[in-house]
């Protein structure tokens, strides 16, 4: 384990722990900014990711940003490891967190009923009405901290604590693509049918991932998402548009 120098201050004034470089075998390393889910840490990760990709040292294969660390994969027979570490050392010294948002997307959601089978239960847990849960969920601005687990699966930060809900005791083996869900203090959109222990609030026809579509991926880490409640009567038309290859998620100005 190697510690690298870093002097930066979080926007709220607190110091961020010094990032460290963790070995991941001979073909990768992880630069760890911290061990928690924290928007400040994530902004550092995305800032470093941008720099490494732009500098593209010879032998770099790819980078994988997560909540709180950046994994850098490279060809060990080609890369100059020491030079890579020096570059990271240098670049993390005065790293400016990337709080700037990539894009903001508006994602239409049909909440409740057959579209979101856990809405009423979530409302009950928090002593709210379903309408209040919808209102709280669709008023927040979510930031994509990372994409992983499955192609296009967005880990969203920004869920209002009033509806943060511990994961289901019995995970479901399969929830449908487009499920709008919450688990703990996280929120997400299912890119495809998947197993899940989170709570289903609604459904969107939007497909964050579609291998046959251009673009294959709609969203990127660092983008923002807002949810727009729509009436079930609009479902069929929206779904048709998605099937025709339209994103249906709309890019909007913050």
């Amino acid at each position: 384990m190697r510690w690298i120098g870093c002097r930066f201050v979080k926007p709220n004034g607190g110091m961020v722990p010094t990032p460290k470089i963790l070995p991941c075998g001979d073909s990768a390393l992880t630069v760890e900014f911290g061990s928690t889910i924290d928007s400040g840490l994530n902004a550092m990760v995305l800032a470093l990711d941008e720099i490494v990709r732009a500098r593209a040292p010879t032998g770099l294969i790819e980078t994988v940003p997560t909540y709180r660390s950046l994994t850098i994969q490279f060809d060990p027979a080609v890369i100059d490891y020491d030079a890579l570490v020096r570059l990271l050392d240098e670049e993390t010294k005065d790293l400016v967190p990337r709080h700037a948002v990539g894009r903001r997307w508006r994602v239409p959601v049909v909440y409740g009923g057959e579209y979101g089978s856990d809405l009423e239960e979530v409302a009950e847990i928090h002593g709210l009405t379903p309408a209040q849960v919808i209102d709280i969920h669709s008023s927040a601005v979510y930031r994509i901290y990372m994409i992983g687990f499955l192609p296009g699966f967005t880990y969203l930060g920004g869920l209002d604590k009033r509806i943060a809900t511990s994961r289901r005791v019995h995970p479901r083996a399969k929830i449908p693509a487009g499920t709008i869900m919450i688990g703990g203090e996280q929120a997400g959109i299912a890119p495809m049918d998947m197993p899940s222990g989170w709570h289903n609030l609604g459904l969107t026809p939007v497909r964050p991932y579609a291998p046959e579509r251009n673009p294959v991926f709609l969203f990127a880490a660092g983008d923002e998402i807002v949810f727009e409640p729509v009436d079930a009567s609009r479902w069929e038309a929206m779904e048709k548009a998605v099937q025709a290859g339209e994103p249906v998620a709309e890019e909007v100005r913050p």
Partner: protein, 341 residues
């Protein structure tokens, strides 16, 4: 186009090349051939670059015919045999499959994964830059699907003529414990657990697939719990969930995960590990970066040297002659899990 037609194959038979890189940040695992040495041998035998797309066999073989012309092919990996219309072919040679003939690829005998390459590669449209099939992403292969009886694989006609070649290679000596580098989360384990991990024997469980190999052995104790906030995963990462039983993550792994990783198998030892079957006993040895990088360079050089070790097949020798001279014996042994026990 000339089509390679699948008459029969196992359920996991699918296209694999070196892998799909550049999309892990979007949650897409790289996948790719489990044994890149065998991938390289099959490709080089038919004049391809070492990383091109091939058919990967998993445990079971298959039968194929050519439609619209003759095809130049080669099979490599895990001692899988090949025969045409019932006549066995010498191992590690390229051969012509004439229209109307049937190629039988035997099941991998000394490991799990074997490869069938066609001259010029397969004229199948890559997805996100790769032919590698990945089940959960619905990517690669034939429009996101594995092969099945009746599948047609278009091949390039202009490169099929050519002399049958053979490979007489010395494999890099690979025996003894699998080499690992400790980390990234070795500090999540007690010193006793690290010692236990490096000094004990583990068994590859039946839960071993392209995504990961579950091992059974002494329980590894966590020092700081077994949940971390998800971070990046690479090939060869050894994660230890709450059960204390390690899982070695392989090509179809997820891109991020929330279990601590005690160590990482070095890149040069991954293919050897991939060919070890369920029930095989493994040990681990910790090495420093220098040794791991030297091994990675050695593997790269070995793959680069393959094309210079091709020689024309000598037809005055019968198959029996070739086999009795055991030209490929070293290869078969080196790929065999038995040689690592």
């Amino acid at each position: 186009m000339i089509d390679l037609v699948v008459k029969s194959c196992g359920p996991m038979t699918a296209l694999q090349d070196r892998g799909r890189f550049g999309y892990q940040g979007f949650g897409v695992s790289p996948s790719g051939a489990m044994d890149r040495r065998a991938l390289a041998m099959a490709n080089v035998l038919v004049g391809n670059s070492p990383d091109m797309g091939t058919i990967e066999f998993v445990n079971l073989g298959g039968a194929f015919t050519a439609e619209g012309g003759d095809l130049r092919l080669a099979v490599a990996g895990a001692g899988a045999s090949a025969s045409i219309d019932g006549t066995p072919l010498p191992p590690l040679t390229s051969f012509m499959l004439r229209e109307g003939q049937t190629l039988e690829v035997g099941h991998p005998r000394t490991g799990t994964f074997a490869y069938l390459a066609v001259a010029g590669g397969l004229a199948v449209e890559p997805q996100l830059g790769s032919l590698s099939f990945h089940l959960r992403s619905r990517l690669g292969g034939l429009k996101g699907a594995p092969l099945q009886a009746g599948s047609h694989l278009p091949c390039r006609p202009e490169v099929q003529a050519g002399e049958p070649m053979q490979l007489t290679v010395d494999l890099i000596e690979e025996t003894g414990p699998l080499r690992v580098m400790l980390g990234p989360q070795d500090d999540y384990f007690t010193p006793d657990s690290i010692r236990l991990f490096l000094e004990s024997e583990f068994t590859i469980s039946p839960q071993a697939d392209r995504m990961g190999f579950q091992l059974t052995g002494p329980k590894l104790e966590h020092a700081k719990g077994f949940n971390i906030v998800s971070d990046g995963i690479v090939d060869g990462h050894i994660q230890v969930p709450g059960s204390g039983q390690p899982i070695v993550l392989m090509r179809d792994r997820q891109t991020a995960g929330g279990y601590p990783k005690i160590a990482t198998v070095i890149s040069a030892d991954l293919a050897r590990f991939a060919q070890m079957r369920s029930g095989t006993k493994v040990r681990f040895r910790a090495v420093e970066r220098d040794e791991a990088v030297a091994a990675a360079r050695q593997l790269r050089d070995w793959i680069a040297s393959l094309s210079s070790q091709l020689t024309p097949v000598r037809f005055d020798l019968t198959t029996e002659h070739l086999l009795s001279r055991n030209l490929i014996g070293g290869t078969v042994d080196a790929l065999s899990p038995a040689s690592h026990e």
